[in-house]
């Protein structure tokens, strides 16, 4: 992929405000993904598939490897085995060692929203958003800035354009984190517990933005403990435990009438923690 051709088209809406693209074409297929840290086999064999425009929530007990799955899909970790296919255009087989270029290609297709935002503290909100498109993708600043401003306005942060991250609340920082990811025009948005670090009263703003993105047709893989959000927004819930996908499917089924005992226990514990 050339640096001036980010995102490579398909799977993302033409612009942030456009209609959903639910054409059902497969966007992401993960098969047999494996990853160990030393003796700790975190991902034993993960299978996952998403269609274009799908919203999938990944749930599971703490330590079950949810973050690791996202990190593998964003090239922050290199899996030990398995394969990932993105849009039928990029196919990576981790059985053999991959070049840095191949990992970079995977990263170009996806963008990550972190639990703790990880905004760049020495840059203003606008600079945070345009850094990737301008510095990495080589797009013209004059093209990117109006787009970034529109996206910031869209998430209610037009007036924070020139603020520094320290001057923002957690909810505002996370919305900037989301806009920073969107600005890369990825085919796949990855969210790692985007609301877990937020004060309860700020969670709603971020979930609202995420729901709107889902409605606009973005393809999203979300790790979250917000079951109400999962039920309302997700097309599919994937329940992971001990390195495997235990159960996946329609949120109403997986979260209300799970087939597996482990899923049942997990859901029960989330709904009534004590």
């Amino acid at each position: 992929m050339s640096p001036t051709d980010p995102g490579a088209g398909g799977g993302r809406p033409a612009d942030v405000f456009s209609a959903p693209v639910h054409d059902g074409a497969p966007l992401l297929t993960v098969s047999g993904l494996r990853k160990s840290f030393g003796d700790n086999q975190v991902l034993r064999s993960i299978d996952l598939s998403m269609a274009r425009g799908d919203v999938v929530t990944l749930v599971g007990p703490s330590g079950s490897g949810k973050t690791t799955v996202l990190r593998c899909l964003n090239g922050l970790e290199v899996p030990d085995g398995g394969a990932v296919d993105v849009a039928g255009e990029l196919h990576l087989d981790f059985a053999s060692p991959l070049s840095r270029r191949q990992v970079a290609a995977l990263r170009d297709r996806s963008a990550m929203v972190f639990q703790h935002y990880h905004l760049f503290p020495h840059m203003t909100v606008l600079q945070n958003v345009i850094e990737g498109p301008v510095q990495v993708q080589g797009r013209r600043r004059d093209d990117v800035v109006p787009e970034a401003e529109a996206m910031l306005a869209r998430v209610g942060l037009a007036d924070k354009r020139d603020s520094y991250p320290v001057e923002l609340s957690g909810g505002q920082q996370q919305r900037v984190g989301i806009v920073r990811a969107l600005a890369l025009r990825p085919q796949l948005l990855l969210f790692d517990e985007p609301t877990s670090a937020l004060d309860p009263e700020l969670v709603g703003d971020v979930l609202t933005v995420m729901k709107e993105l889902a409605d606009e047709g973005w393809t999203m893989l979300i790790v979250t403990h917000e079951l109400a959000f999962a039920r309302e927004v997700a097309d599919q819930v994937v329940f992971m435990d001990e390195g495997y996908v235990v159960e996946h499917g329609d949120p109403d089924v997986v979260l209300r009438e799970p087939r597996e005992e482990r899923t049942r226990q997990f859901v029960r514990r989330l709904l009534s923690p004590f």
């Binding site: 922050l76 990880h118 760049f120 990495v136």
Partner: protein
């Protein structure tokens, strides 16, 4: 004790002049070159290649484990015996730069390590290479962290340049020695020289706290 105030007032300008054309330029040049050396050494020290990192570690160890005065003498009085003869100024700038390079390398390395790992990851996630992440995301944040310790390094350097008097650089303290030897008024002249150093350092400390206040604006508390 009788103080010769006339001597004190006539020697003030030569001392200040020694600071302006000797001490301060020597410190500034050595600090600038030393920072470049330090950045390179710090990055080498952080390298995953063990040979590269070992070379950097050895350099830092030698610089920090030997006296500045000995380093100066090796360069100015020692090197001529292997055919490398340098005049006082270049000798002093080389010696002090190498010295700053060793000390500041550790400061810069620590500042780079102090930037949270999440910043590297965020940089990578927007597609940056290692080098881009370092230049655009990590080093600007590390620079902020390293301002206070590097300011201290600079202030120490200003005082340490007095050692250059021993290799004949016409800086503040050498002027003081000349005046003292000529007038035999050692105590007032050396105290006067000390006062000039002190005033220079007061200015630097004031500048340091202003810079720190400005940088503080964007840092979480």
């Amino acid at each position: 004790m009788h103080i010769d105030w006339h001597l004190v007032s006539t020697s003030l300008w030569p001392l200040v002049r020694g600071a302006l054309i000797g001490t301060i330029p020597l410190a500034l040049a050595s600090f600038a070159i030393g920072l470049v050396i330090a950045l390179v050494v710090a990055l080498m020290r952080l390298s995953r290649r063990s040979l590269v990192s070992a070379v950097a570690r050895a350099y830092i160890s030698v610089i920090r484990g030997t006296p500045q005065l000995v380093q100066l003498f090796v360069i100015f009085y020692g090197l001529p015996s292997v055919g490398v003869t340098l005049s006082p100024w270049p000798s002093a700038i080389i010696a002090f730069s190498l010295n700053v390079g060793g000390y500041a390398a550790e400061v810069i390395r620590a500042s780079i390590l102090s930037v949270p790992k999440g910043q590297w990851e965020a940089a990578h996630t927007i597609g940056m290479s290692h080098r881009q992440a370092l230049r655009r995301i990590i080093l600007p944040q590390a620079a902020r962290v390293s301002v206070p310790p590097l300011s201290n390094t600079f202030i120490s350097l200003v005082k340490d340049t007095s050692l250059a008097s021993l290799i004949l650089v016409p800086e503040l303290f050498r002027r003081g020695q000349e005046i003292a030897a000529y007038s035999q008024a050692f105590l007032p002249v050396y105290i006067e020289a000390a006062v000039v150093y002190w005033v220079v350092c007061l200015f630097l400390s004031a500048a340091q706290s202003r810079v720190e206040k400005r940088l503080d604006r964007y840092v979480a508390h």
